[in-house]
Symmetry: C2
Subunit: 168 residues, 2 copies
């Protein structure tokens, strides 16, 4: 009887310790998978922009997401982002190219990418293509959701060249 | 004898569980302290800029820190940041005002602030004050160091107003 009591408590202890180490181990293993996931999300961001799929694009943001474009105030929350960006998607054919992902990291439930990109728009009604950002950089933060997916919490971006050097 | 065995194993089990819950609890308690710490660091960033203390200012960055200013390429690593910013500190009296910290969060070993600020420079050799950013926003990321302090890993910023509206 004494032996079986020891076994039971040993099993409980071993289970508790296993859960603890498993949690630590899982966190490490997930990082590589998480980095792959946020890189893929950045790729899907481009696909949504370039196919003009606004519903897909807006779905990538958290409800409290903050978009920080240059030379205009931040758009705070998905509703403001929608209001600001829907007309652009409606009126323009968009062309974004992420030329390189310079950095991708995950810290627990927060992921980040730092990428280099170009961005151009062409009015659907006709007219010249406007190269809005011939060479730009973006710092994008992703929050892990309860279902394990990632959504954009912050996107801050600007140009690598002075506006006077932009050729339209 | 059986009773004492149960007690010993119960104590071990209780200790293991206590460590687990303590770790979770600690993480929660630290968050408030961490948020206070990164807000204070942002405040010290302003102090270093406004007192022209370049050595203090550059010490806030991680060795791999990335500064992402508008209209110029990113500065990658402390050496590039130093090379780009030292002449500005040497030649100008700087005036940054963080008018509000809109958001401050900590995710494990990564902290972030989103702030609104103004930035002006006055040549030390004499001349008019130039309002570089009359109304700007910054997304700043801080990494926890092994000694518990925080350093800046990323700083991406831009203006809230179009360059044509900047009054010099």
């Amino acid at each position: 009887m004494r032996k079986s009591n020891w076994s039971l408590s040993t099993i409980i202890l071993a289970t508790a310790l296993a859960m603890l180490f498993s949690a630590i181990s899982c966190q490490r293993q997930d990082t590589e998978a998480d980095i792959t996931a946020i890189k893929e999300m950045l790729n899907q961001y481009s696909v949504a922009v370039n196919t003009g799929d606004f519903d897909l694009w807006i779905s990538f943001w958290t409800d409290e997401g903050i978009q920080m474009p240059p030379d205009t105030p931040a758009r705070i929350g998905k509703a403001q982002i929608l209001e600001a960006m829907k007309p652009t998607f409606d009126q323009m054919t968009l062309d974004i190219a992420i030329t390189s992902i310079e950095d991708a990291k995950v810290y627990g439930d927060l992921g980040l990418t730092y990428c280099i990109y170009t961005f151009a728009v062409t009015p659907k009604a006709g007219g010249e293509t406007i190269i809005v950002i011939p060479d730009g950089k973006a710092l994008t933060l992703y929050e892990r959701q309860t279902d394990g997916s990632w959504k954009i919490a912050y996107d801050c971006f600007n140009s690598n060249v002075s506006p006077t050097r932009i050729t339209i």
